[in-house]
């Protein structure tokens, strides 16, 4: 029998199926619309309120402009603090996440129960937002960059740990088996077999977190944990809106530059 190419689209779709699809589509959009209306009703979000808020927004915008460029140089210290928090908050966790991930990954863990327990620990650390860690630590040890850095370290240890153990679990099992067959110990398998194989992924997820932590570090100050966010919050609390505007400009600058650097680094390592 000769083989004819299959038609890409079946034109003679039965009428019932089309009706069913249309009904399905109508039902789905109806449910979504109902949920959205319920949400708008519950949160008091409506068009008149939006329109009524416009003058207030315009007023705030007017008071924030022009930005106060005199304070630009004074923002150097908080900017550096922000960058330092992000750097330490990303690189210190690497030393915790890597061993924990090796203990957590199904294919390298010495004990499956221990592995599961560490996975739960890493996921808990990751689930709690860094801002929440920061708020708790600020209420325990006081204001400053110290609680902010610890908050980033805690959240990142969980997040990087998860990325790492997923990368380790994706390593070709043949490599591990081959090394074990030659009599390599657990540490040797991990160090010379598993890690070199997933090194690019590990590096790339660490870069992702560095990017993320810079963004996080700019807002940690909103709960008192230092950096440029603290300068911004102080400016808002003192009604010095032009200074707040300068802080926003600095934040956007920091994030744009970091974004470029991490994209360049990523292109080099992968």
């Amino acid at each position: 029998m000769p083989k004819y190419p299959q038609a890409a689209v079946s034109i003679d779709r039965p009428l019932e199926r089309r009706r069913a699809l249309r009904l399905n589509w109508l039902l789905t959009s109806g449910v979504i619309l109902a949920v959205v209306i319920w949400c708008a009703w519950g949160t008091g979000f409506n068009i008149p309120k939006l329109l009524a808020g416009m003058p207030a927004l315009h007023d705030l915008g007017g008071r924030m402009l022009p930005p106060d460029m005199e304070v630009f140089t004074e923002l150097g210290v908080p900017t550096i603090e922000t960058l330092q928090m992000a750097l330490l908050g990303t690189t210190i966790p690497v030393f915790f996440s890597l061993p924990l991930a090796l203990l957590a990954a199904i294919n390298t863990t010495p004990n499956q129960v221990l592995g599961a327990a560490i996975r739960v620990l890493l996921n808990t650390l990751r689930t709690i937002p860094e801002l929440l860690w920061a708020m708790l630590l600020v209420s325990a040890v006081g204001l400053g960059t110290f609680p902010g850095t610890i908050a980033l370290i805690l959240h990142t240890t969980g997040g990087l740990g998860k990325f790492y153990y997923e990368a380790i679990e994706a390593v070709d099992p043949g490599i591990i088996e081959a090394m074990e067959a030659t009599g390599a110990g657990r540490f040797q398998v991990a160090w010379f077999g598993v890690l070199p194989n997933c090194f690019p992924i590990l590096l790339s997820s660490t870069l992702t977190y560095w990017d993320y932590n810079n963004r996080a570090a700019t807002i940690l100050g909103l709960v008192g944990a230092g950096g440029i966010g603290l300068a911004f919050t102080h400016a808002i609390q003192d009604f010095q809106y032009p200074i707040a505007m300068t802080c926003i400009i600095v934040i956007v600058l920091i994030l744009t530059v970091i974004d470029r650097i991490s994209a360049a680094l990523r292109a080099r390592v992968i």
Binding site: I32, C39, G44, L131, I219
Partner: protein, 256 residues
């Protein structure tokens, strides 16, 4: 054994010294030290003693903020993704004119360059406390980030169908509605789901600056030193984030 001496080039040595200097400087700058950590431990212990056991009788009072958080997340994602779609098309190089896409791209960059929390604080200052400010902040940020992602997806569509439609005289509007939109629809839905998860997560903490939801309850409990209640709110936030994480992953697997 690899020869250590041949690996230790002057450039590498300089880089290592530079890295150590940067770290030293960062550790000094952030006052991060083991001594500080050990000195902080008693304070942390004191806080934990205040936080435990959690006041579970407070849980029933958390229903309203919990629902409010969910509502903020849903509403912001819905409005944000609806607004992001035209923005994404206008910002795509293959769909619009340079006079349109450069300004739109700039606007999108500014919208997502500023974090949700900063938008939220600005909106709280302008329109007052409550979920309204939080929704506005999340909409703004979602439009910025989803608009950019949609534009990238639109730029990557197969140009064949678009050209075919143009050649038979379809208007630009029809080209994008019937030529490009069907191609990006799965990606669009997957982004919408991803940002639903993200926005719910953010809605849970936006309250720290007064923008409603569970975060506001938590912030309030901590400000009045009711730490047992704060623990209950934290448990609620963790549960919410975990459930959303699973749910969105489940939906994304079904769509793609």
């Amino acid at each position: 054994m690899p020869n250590l001496r041949s690996r230790l080039t002057p450039t590498r040595l300089a880089m290592a010294v530079g890295a150590i200097a940067v770290y030293w400087w960062s550790i000094e700058g952030t006052e991060l030290s083991l001594i500080e950590i050990i000195k902080g431990l008693p304070d942390l212990w004191k806080l934990l003693r205040l936080m435990f056991p959690p006041d579970l009788s407070f849980a029933w009072q958390l229903w309203r903020p919990l629902i409010e958080t969910l509502q903020i997340g849903i509403l912001a994602t819905f409005i944000g993704s609806v607004l992001a779609l035209p923005m994404g098309f206008l910002a795509a190089r293959n769909m619009s004119h340079p006079f349109v896409y450069y300004p739109i791209r700039l606007v999108l960059n500014v919208l997502r360059g500023i974090s949700e929390l900063i938008w939220a604080l600005l909106f709280v200052v302008a329109v007052g406390f409550g979920p309204f400010a939080g929704i506005l902040a999340l909409i703004i940020f979602s439009v910025g980030i989803m608009g950019k992602l949609i534009a990238e997806a639109v730029e990557a569509v197969d140009p064949g169908p678009l050209e075919a439609m143009r050649s038979i005289g379809a208007s630009p509007w029809k080209v994008f509605l019937y030529g490009a939109l069907p191609q990006v629809l799965p990606i669009y839905l997957s982004y919408a789901l991803y940002y639903w998860d993200h926005n719910t997560r953010q809605a849970a903490i936006l309250g720290f600056v007064g923008a409603g939801g569970l975060g506001y309850t938590l912030f309030w409990s901590i400000s009045v030193y009711q730490f047992e209640r704060a623990t209950t709110a934290i448990i609620a936030i963790i549960l919410l984030i975990t459930v959303m994480d699973w749910f969105c992953l489940f939906l994304r697997k079904r769509i793609i």
